[in-house]
Each structure stands twice: as C-alpha cells, then as structure tokens.
Symmetry: C2
Subunit: 302 residues, 2 copies
C-alpha cells in the first residue's frame, strides 16, 4: 500500500452544473454546497464570473457566494475569464463579506478552441491571464490557473505536449498558486496523463504544485487520475456524481465523479478527506433534485 | 508512445449476456457473434456449459455453437464448471463439427463465494479444476483457467494475495494455456491490479501467459487494465458495450467495454486488432435489440 494524501477540489457547483439546461435555484445550489462540505470537501469551485447570457446557470454567482457558510477551513474558488471577472470576485469581499478566496483562470491550449470559447488565441490567452494573475496578486486575491484542452481539442484534434508545456512555462513566471492541466473533452489516456504530468512536474521542479482535471467522457478519467497521481499530482478536480457533461458529446458523462476518485484512491491507501458514504448520500439527494441518475459508478453500485 | 500488442477476448456472448433477464434468440446471439468477428474479435467466449436451470440464457449453448462461422482464424471458448461441461464441449466436435476450440475453467478464490456459486471450497475447486484440465488435455481439448473473485468477495470482503497466488501455483502444475485473474464483482483498484499481476507474473516466470478480467462496477476497470498491462498482461477480457451486469449490484455496469479498452489502448500506441468504429456500430445495433443503451463510455461519446 502507498500512504499519501491528495486534495480534492469539488467542482460540481461550477463545472458540474454549468451545462445543466434547467436553472437550479440558488437555495438548491447552497444546499448542495452544504452537503459537499458535510462530506468533507474543503476546497470548492462554487461559481464562475462569466456573462449571464453566455452561461445562464451561473447568473446567480454573487447570490450563491453571499450565501456560503462562513468557514475558515474552506477555500471557495470562483472561475474568471477576464479582468472583469477578477473585479467581480474582489467585489464579493466588499463590506467585510466572506466572499471568494481564490480565483481560477483558464488558458486554452488551442487557438481554434480558445477563439471560439473565449475569443482568444493561445498567445492572447497567456498575455491576458498573466495580467490577471498579476492584478489578482496586487489586490490580495489568491489565484491559480488551468490549461484547458491540454489533452486534445474538439476542433484541432491533437494538442502537442510542447504547446502545453510552453504555456505552463510562461504562466509559471507569474507564480500562480497552482497549475492544472485539464482534459476538457475527455480524450486523454493514462499513458498520456503520465507522460504530460511527468513533463510538467520536471518543468515546474516542485516550485508550483500541479493539479489535474479529468473528464470521464471516454471511460479513461479514473485511469488518468491514477497515472497523474503516480506522476506526482496531489490535487484533483472531481464533481459529485460526475456532474458536468461535455457540450461536444451531449450523451457522454462529465467530470470524474468524486465518489469514484475517492473509492479508487482510498482503497489504494491514499487519503482524500472525503466521507464516501456521505458523498453517495449527497449524490442520491441531488439526483432526486435533478430527476435523473448521476453517472458515478460507485454510487450506482452502492 | 509504447508499441505493443494485446489480445482481446470478447466475452460479450457469455459473460455479457448470462444475466440478461430476457432470453435472447439463438439467431440474435449468432448475429452478435458475427458482428464481433467483423469488428476484429478473433477469440470469443461464446457460451457456457452450465445447467440450463441455473443459467437459462445459456440453455441454447449447443445451438449457438452449431451455428458459429467455420473460421480457422477464430478461437471459440466455452465456459465449463465441471467434467460434465468438458464432455459437452467435446461433444460439440462430434461428427467432424467445428465446435469449441478451448474450454475455460474457473476456480473461485473464496470459500463462501465458491460454495454458493459452484458448491465448492477453494480446495475442492482446485482439485476438480486440476482434474478437468488433465481430462481436457487427454481428450485433445485446449484449456485455460480463471481465478475469480481474485480482487474481493461479495461475502467475505478482502481476498488475500497469498490465497490467489497459492491457487495459481497449484493450477500452474497442470500447465493450462493461460491463467486469468478476474475481478468478478468490480472492486479492484489500479494499485492492486499492478501489485497482484506483478506477483503472478513473478510466480509464473513467463511460462504461462496471464489474462485479466475486469469489471467496471466501481469505475476502475479501465485503470486496472492499464496497470495490468504495465505489469505484463497481454490478454484482456472485454465485452461489447460493457454488457454483463453484476448480480450483486443490479444497477451497476458490467465487464469493461470492448470499445473503452480499445480506445484507451490504441491511443496509447497498443494495437488491439479491433476496428473501433465497427465495434461502436455493433453496440448501437445490439442496444436496439435490447431496447436500452449500453454502458460503454466511448460509444456514448461517439
């Protein structure tokens, strides 16, 4: 047995819900976040500061954040795509409010995907994100960054490792709290996860922690997480039940499920801090709210 | 990239179908097997020789076998649980018929599970199986063996590695064509898959090939297959679409899906001999026959 520990970032409230077609009430989102904290999540991506017309499900970001439990042992993350998003994140703290603890920035590792998703080439994405990271630091806001489509692009197909590593090197110059690689469309394999995180770890030299964000769209998410773990990753995104579909594969599953990651890790001797039974109970409750079963294999087998 | 090759054993017609509640017509089974051969499967578990009252879905074993394409490039496997099963397998060749090429025997690595499933303790299972392996060899029938519940038992929980290895050592004395470890209830993790197959490989010393049989009940099946591959396994069971539920977890998924294994392996530079697009097409056709979607993540994302 190995005896290590990972940190799980519960991304259900943001990445998990953003593609849900029906708007979920703010109170339901807060109840969901409360259950996540109850099952042991201590770092949660709670909302994104994007234009409500682009992602209607996130239109109540400020209301969700205003209702978060005022806990000192939790880190609340808000996703930001531009400086305006950082300003909104900062505004959640005004008047002494609890607000957001950390912003998450994103650089897309594909010119075509980046232009469609955020109106930016890779180069523009790096420049804007470096400016955001600097601005956040000046304003006293913690910031991390994710390189998305790092394992493949829905438009361009293959994404070269050198492209991903060059982005990471540029971003590392701003000393973000963490650099994540995201398999946004779920095409990665464990072979590639081991390779790419191995190279990233060598590049970062232990100075900046790595984080992994996998989707289970093609059934490889848990395998990728294990290989990333073996390559030195100790922070993993996951969502309750595997919430979070892929807009490019509407019938496919989404993020790796919190329950599945926890089962695999804990049974391998790796502590996660998550109470699996409580997570499965939260899954059943939220599945009732949505009126459908969630993809998590562990929850279905329970 | 690694550049290797694996052999896939398509177990959909037997392990995949045996728990289907509605009896599938012999012609439909034969059409399914035909499509499997079309997508590249060259070794197929086509039936089991068990009592029709125990597994009604396999009552037409002889009829299925009589209808198999007479191909010299395919290996047809029939599962046998006792000497009577071997005799039935041998009978399929009578009168110069094509028949079965190989029998698959099973020893359960748990006294409780073995007694409930086959009325045998581990010790009795080993003795009976050794006798079956000898008898098959004397009769000119190829034979391999699977150690089931090798990663955990639904009744006893943990199964010790030493128990599994002791069974393997006893069976190796009969020189079966192959020794497989099966995670019958889908509880294994990639950590354990690497450990256990590493130990088995050391025990067998390359003299008897290893095979892996994983279920995806808790989302770890593909991760386990990759670790088993890295531990030296080159033969993998899989079923089209992930057919084959677990009777102990009725809502859970079954065998690892052929499509998911092929996607993961091929994208990692490991050849499988399977045409993925044709397998996905076969999935869609058979899902139509069953009237429900099959679990394969790759097919759902297609």
């Amino acid at each position: 047995m190995v005896f290590e520990q990972i940190e799980l970032v519960e991304v259900g409230p943001r990445d998990g819900l953003q593609n849900e077609p029906d708007i979920i009430a703010t109170d339901t989102k807060l109840a969901l976040i409360g259950r996540m904290i109850d099952y042991g999540a201590r770092r949660l991506e709670v909302a994104s500061f994007v234009h409500p017309q682009r992602v209607p499900q996130m239109a109540d970001a400020e209301a969700v954040i205003a209702g978060l439990p005022d806990r000192t042992d939790c880190t609340y993350i808000g996703l930001v795509l531009n400086k305006r998003g950082v300003l909104r994140a900062l505004a959640t703290r005004e008047g002494g409010a609890r607000g957001i603890d950390q912003v998450g920035c994103v650089v897309v590792a594909s010119d075509t995907f980046g232009q469609k998703n955020q109106g930016q080439t890779i180069e523009q994405g790096i420049a804007e994100t470096r400016a955001m990271l600097r601005f956040a630091r000046e304003e006293g806001m913690r910031a991390q960054v994710t390189i998305s489509a790092a394992f493949g692009c829905p438009f361009e197909g293959e994404v070269k490792h050198d492209t991903v590593l060059a982005i990471a090197e540029d971003l590392a110059a701003e000393a973000p709290e963490e650099i994540a690689l995201a398999d946004t469309i779920g095409v990665g394999t464990p072979w590639e996860a081991g390779e790419l995180f191995g190279k990233l770890g060598a590049l970062l030299g232990g100075k900046i922690p790595m984080r992994a964000h996998f989707h289970n769209t093609r059934g490889t998410g848990i395998a990728n997480a294990w290989e990333a773990y073996k390559a030195g990753v100790r922070v993993f995104d996951a969502s309750l039940g595997g919430l979070g579909g892929c807009p490019f594969a509407p019938r496919a599953t989404g993020n790796i499920a919190t329950e599945d990651l926890v089962y695999m890790m804990e049974r391998s001797g790796v502590a996660t801090g998550i109470d699996l039974e409580a997570a499965i109970a939260a899954n059943k409750w939220f599945a009732g709210q949505l009126g459908r079963e969630l993809p998590s294999a562990v929850a279905r087998a329970a």
